[in-house]
């Protein structure tokens, strides 16, 4: 994933030539454009240098839901989807595209799904890897906070019979360094017959993401305080 800013720039500059010289490229079943994603992933490396850990937990072919923490304007589900996609070398979708032009169609071209449980269910049943962001935290005071996870989407994963993975994301508004750490598949703590299962699973996922964030152990506040050698303090 980390090819450096110069390498990323080279890939981005190559984009127009490839668009002209490869007219045969088509979108996939969900409207994702692999060529465009490749180039935008390269472009995103100008902004983020993402390290992915724990990707060996993800299934190689089957569908799975990866739930990440998010911060407002940090585009965590998008950069996580790009980074995981490059790490596991298969298409990764993210939940939360708009349905209005021009952002909606652009979101669809880079792997976005509508924020609807049926849409998530369809993708998971079709064997896709889907990244879902928790409710975004809003300020520096909420560093380390994990927002509400939509239990309807977790329910869609349960209904589709796929595994659900917690993942912690960390990025800074100013720095390039970013990290995605994927945990092991989360299972419900007890068997339920009704919708309580998805509620409990969503809560459990939230706890797991908090634990992963704690284990990452660095402070990323997005302020000059990040430059101080305080990483030994831990937490977020």
């Amino acid at each position: 994933m980390n090819i450096g800013p110069l390498g990323a720039m080279g890939r981005v500059l190559e984009f127009p030539r490839r668009r002209v010289s490869e007219p045969g490229e088509v979108v996939d079943d969900w409207g994702r454009d692999p060529g465009l994603v490749r180039q935008l992933a390269a472009l995103s490396q100008l902004r983020w240098s993402v390290t992915v850990g724990g990707d060996q937990h993800l299934p190689r072919r089957k569908g799975a839901l990866v739930v990440v923490n998010a911060r407002r304007f940090a585009l965590a589900p998008i950069f996580a989807a790009f980074a995981i996609g490059e790490a596991v070398d298969r298409p990764v979708r993210f939940v939360g595209r708009s349905d209005s032009a021009p952002l909606g169609p652009l979101g669809r071209r880079i792997g976005g799904l509508l924020d609807h449980p049926d849409e998530v269910f369809g993708a998971l049943r079709a064997g896709e890897l889907v990244v879902l962001g928790a409710e975004a935290s809003t300020g520096l005071r909420q560093v380390g906070y994990v927002g509400r996870i939509k239990h309807e989407h977790v329910g869609a994963a349960t209904a589709a019979g796929v595994q659900v993975f917690p993942a912690a994301t960390m990025s800074s508004p100013f720095g390039r360094g970013a990290r995605v750490e994927i945990g092991q598949a989360t299972r419900p703590s007890r068997r339920r017959r009704g919708p309580l299962a998805e509620l409990e699973l969503a809560d459990h996922l939230r706890d797991e993401i908090v634990r992963l964030l704690d284990e990452m152990g660095e402070i990323r506040t997005g302020t000059p305080i990040d430059w101080l050698p305080l990483s030994g303090l831990g937490g977020h």
């Binding site: 045969g24 088509v26 079943d29 032009a101």
Partner: protein
Amino acid sequence: MGGRRVFVSGVGSELGTLVTGMLEAEPWVGSLAGIDADPPRRRLPKTTFHRIPPDQHDRIVETITRFNPHVLVHIGVWEPDARASPKMARMLTDQAATSMIGAAAEGPAIEHLVVRSGIEIYGRGRNSLTRPDETAPIRPTSEWGRMVAEIEHIAARVSARVGVSVGAVRLAPVLGPHVPSPLGRMLRNPVVPFSVLADPPFAVIKDHDAARAIVAAAREGLAEPVNVVASGAVTCLQALRRGRRVPFPLIGPDWQVAKALSYLFGSPIPDHVAEVLHRGRLADNGRMAELLGVVPESTTSDVIDELYGWPSIIRQPARVVAA
């Protein structure tokens, strides 16, 4: 299972002729009959053809009840601006659906209905699912979508009254060398408008794959809807680049001018095709193999490539009789 009587409505269309030709080769089919306003496109040696317009209800009822089919395959639908204007297409489709399905319900032997429907039935309203499966709500947003929804509604009513099973084959836009398709016709124009802000993806199905799916639905006794869509998708701009056509980018109000010009050049853009260009049209084909036992042989990009490979007009020189 052998010796079943199968009746095909709409046998004169390209798809109807393909389906009937395949049914002739099926071992479980005992006798075959078909009805349409136009004769079949090819020779169908084992099929009895009745040329009856869809408004002649009495003759249709008499013909179908006399044949007393076990299975009715209803393909007699008119896509707007394919062979008829939208208004005429609506009228003919309604008449055919009411007459054919109603007549089949009168036959004592009828056990199964297969109706040709379309994925336009799901509609493309705001926040509608990208790839609706068969359980998605039916909210058509085009004339063609409402027409196929009405056909399914009529078939469901008959099913409830008479107690026969009904299978709806929801086809993606059908393309083929001889299929009259407003989408295919538009894409083959030398200059084609596309929505530069949206350029959404769509999927299609080849006529041969559509026919195989309909035959499989009749054979398997399909008793629910199924999406029949080729794998993959393509956007309008990508299709035009594959066909080496000139793309003409449009944003909004200029679409009205483009539609009028396209109409004048003999390639009208009905609302369901305009919807494809603005909102896209995909559907989940994941249950095809399970319900029908067949999967499409051609992907969407294959069909688009073939679309541009089919000759426009084959000119045959007049035969001169030797003196």
